[in-house]
């Protein structure tokens, strides 16, 4: 904490607003990645940017509290989700791992979306872990 400068009133007030703006946008970016620019990686970065902005305004401890789970847990859950998204393909014995199945093609619902959510969680976890470690030291 000692390394962080006391942030201005404006930054402190804006921090939650930016966070709650960033989260829905990140989800939209995640979902539209099916057919347009976007996806789990970019979405995750947008969400992480929101959290990092919050940490700048209210301090890293407050950011940890609002994340509820440690960044490593997010990371682990994301990795696990991405890995498991390849398994349904193996129900068909001739198909290869990570062959993606689609349930509702029009909306982009399928195992690829699960994979993308995994990427999203991993990116949020990693980016916030790096940043929180850097400002805490």
């Amino acid at each position: 904490m000692n390394g962080v400068m006391k942030s201005s009133l404006i930054l402190r007030t804006m921090a939650p607003l930016v966070l709650w703006l960033a989260l829905p946008v990140s989800i939209i970016v995640l979902i539209q990645g099916h057919n347009n620019p976007g996806g789990g990686f970019v979405g995750g970065l947008v969400a992480a940017a929101g959290v990092i902005f919050y940490a700048l305004g209210r301090g890293p401890e407050a950011a940890r509290v609002i994340m509820r789970v440690p960044p490593a847990t997010l990371c682990g859950a994301g990795i696990l989700l991405a890995a498991l998204s390849g398994l349904p393909a193996l129900l068909d014995p001739s198909a290869a791992f990570l062959t993606h199945l689609w349930w509702m093609t029009d909306y982009g619902l399928g195992t690829a979306l699960i994979f993308d959510i995994g990427v999203y969680l991993t990116v949020v976890g990693t980016a916030t872990a790096i940043f929180l470690a850097l400002i805490r030291g």
């Binding site: 057919n35 790096i130 850097l134 030291g137």
Partner: protein, 135 residues
Amino acid sequence: METLFAITIGILVAASVYLFLARDLPRMLIGFILLGMAVNLLILVAGRIGSIVPALVPAAETALLQGTANPLPQALVLTAIVIGFGLAAFALMLIVKSQRLMGTVIPEEMGEAEGDEAATGVALPGEPDRRKDAA
């Protein structure tokens, strides 16, 4: 276009080599980042520069249209950027840590891991202390 790329890559490599020769680690890290950029450009050139139409499939189509850019080098560069970012972030953390723990970012001034006699030639009773002699 290739010539422009070649010159840019050359400038980037020259700058990074200059930075690698510096004594302190932050400069070396910037050198590494610049070198990474140069290699990313190299991959783009190696994949042939042709069209600049983004490699996106239009809504009604099932395959890429003729005349779009080669998406593979772009995918490679994207992966390489992400990996390079991770490596650079980790190296930066280590440099910050070494500044906090040892008060220096110059490798020669650390001498913790390479201190040759440190864990080896320690003086036993009745033996000259080789570490002191060396100093």
